[in-house]
């Protein structure tokens, strides 16, 4: 939970700078309470490592070291590596799905959709890896996923996880888009995010027809999709990454 507190303390620091009266700070605690609620709902941060814990963890070159973390870096390449980490996760997930007992017995429509999704996510992964290098950045290493919480023989478990990954991808790209400074990279992220949204809508329709813009992903008052900050996204993604492969996004731009 502490990455969320960190955000509210950043607000307090900014307020401190402007000599805000104490009274105003006490109202900020109100919003702090809101942050915690939102954070719990969106990030479910009960058992995830926080940025602080990840920072505190000793860096190590050994993949076997459970305290080791993968820092996605800073600036635009940090954002691109953050996206690359998520696409690695999605691609690995669908590769596992295509090899799963569920897929072997799925309906032709579901097999067709999942086959496309596997290809699209694999293309996103390879594109980001190649593109980061071609533009002078360094892609992060291959992450080791941990899908032990998913039952690959169960339709609801597989499609439920697919929905979580696709919705997470959309909210992550939307939340990270404004942190990108190069308009070309922003444009590329935009070309990917709408495909992720198309995926998410179909998977949601497979689970419950008509739920393509459910109130858990689209704000019912404004009709706007709900974004997530990189720290929230990392907390969720890290549940599906092995110790030693968990990502740290603490150096990414924040605003």
């Amino acid at each position: 939970m502490s990455e969320i507190f960190e955000e509210s303390s950043a607000v307090e620091k900014a307020v401190d700078k402007s000599n805000t009266p104490l009274q105003r700070r006490s109202f900020l605690r109100f919003t702090g309470a809101g942050v915690v609620l939102t954070g719990l709902v969106l990030a479910g941060c009960d058992d995830s490592l926080t940025d602080d814990e990840l920072n505190a963890a000793a860096s190590s070159d050994s993949k076997g070291d459970n305290n080791r973390v993968v820092n996605v870096g800073s600036g635009d390449f940090g954002i691109l590596n953050f996206a690359y980490a998520l696409e690695q996760l999605e691609a690995a997930f669908y590769a596992a799905v295509l090899a799963s007992p569920y897929y072997a017995s799925a309906s032709p429509a579901e097999r067709a959709a999942l086959k496309d999704l596997e290809a699209h996510e694999r293309i996103h992964r390879e594109f980001l890896k190649t593109g980061i290098s071609a533009n002078g950045g360094t892609p992060i290493e291959d992450l080791e996923p941990d899908f032990s919480s998913i039952d690959f023989s169960s339709r609801s478990s597989v499609l439920g996880a697919a929905m979580a990954f696709e919705d997470l991808g959309v909210s992550a790209y939307n939340g990270a888009g404004p942190l990108i400074s190069n308009p070309v990279y922003l444009g590329l992220a935009g070309k990917i995010v709408s495909v992720e949204a198309r995926h998410a809508a179909l998977i949601r329709d497979l689970l419950r027809y008509g739920n393509f813009v459910g109130s858990d992903v689209v704000d019912t008052r404004t009709g706007l999709e709900i974004s997530m900050r990189p720290s929230q996204v990392a907390a969720m993604a890290n549940k599906y990454l092995k110790p030693g492969s968990k990502i740290n996004v603490s150096k990414l731009p924040r605003d």
Binding site: I123, I180, D205, R221
Partner: protein, 297 residues
Amino acid sequence: MNILNLITEIERVDPEVYERLDQRRQMFRHFAGFGKKLAASAVPLAVGSMFQKAYGQSSGLSDQVKFVLNFALGLEYLEYYFYQTGLDSAGLLTGQARNSVTTIRNDERKHVDFLRSVLGSAAIADPGAGAYDFTGAKGGARQALFPTVFTNQGTFLAVAQALEDTGVRAYKGGAPLLISNNTVLEAALNIHSVEARHASHIRTVRRGGPQAVPGTLNSMPKSWISGNDNGGPAPSATAPVYGAGNPAADYPGEENTTQAGVNLASLPGVTMAEASEAFDEPLDPSTVLAIAGNFIK
């Protein structure tokens, strides 16, 4: 806890809260998240005024930002009146298609209201349903492109797909122009992905639901755009929705398979179709206007 009480409380302690929200985007997000936890019916009034003050003219939108938002607003009006007219057409929409169109109509209305609240007095006026002719006949000035749009559910959904896919491309083309204003940019991205969800769903409906296997790209499409989708549901009229914009180097057609110099189709085990499906393409304002212009009298 009650969102209205909370906002009143905040206003009393910090009268400039709305002005400060623009700079403190994080804080604004927290309000939004907080409101979401509470009864939606209690929220719109207070939040509406918050949006206006937080995004609105007091903070000074640049002319470029106003242009992009008004451009988006124009498309949202078009979509809203299209769906509303469809729902008002007796016997046109039935069953699940009616439910879905109602959901989408409601989203488009919210997008209209949201963009108007952000633009404040700079918002273009609501043209009303009478400004549109969704048959494409321009009020009888030419032969209709879609004469059965409000009498045949299939035609209606085909036009809906074309409008949604155009909307996705239009927001994608506009987003980089908003890079100077993070708050507005994020809001535009948050509409963009919802339009993509709509587009996906309309496509799913057109092929007979999520458990039907996609068939022909024109009449039973995939939920994503494959190649140039054979020009879309009615190639003679909808080809520009999937084709290249102007200039083509910046706005390639949906069949594009090269991104940032990387030839995706040359990756191991990747087909041309898959390479094109994995990325959507932006469209320039003048091409979007030409498409939309078919439906404006």
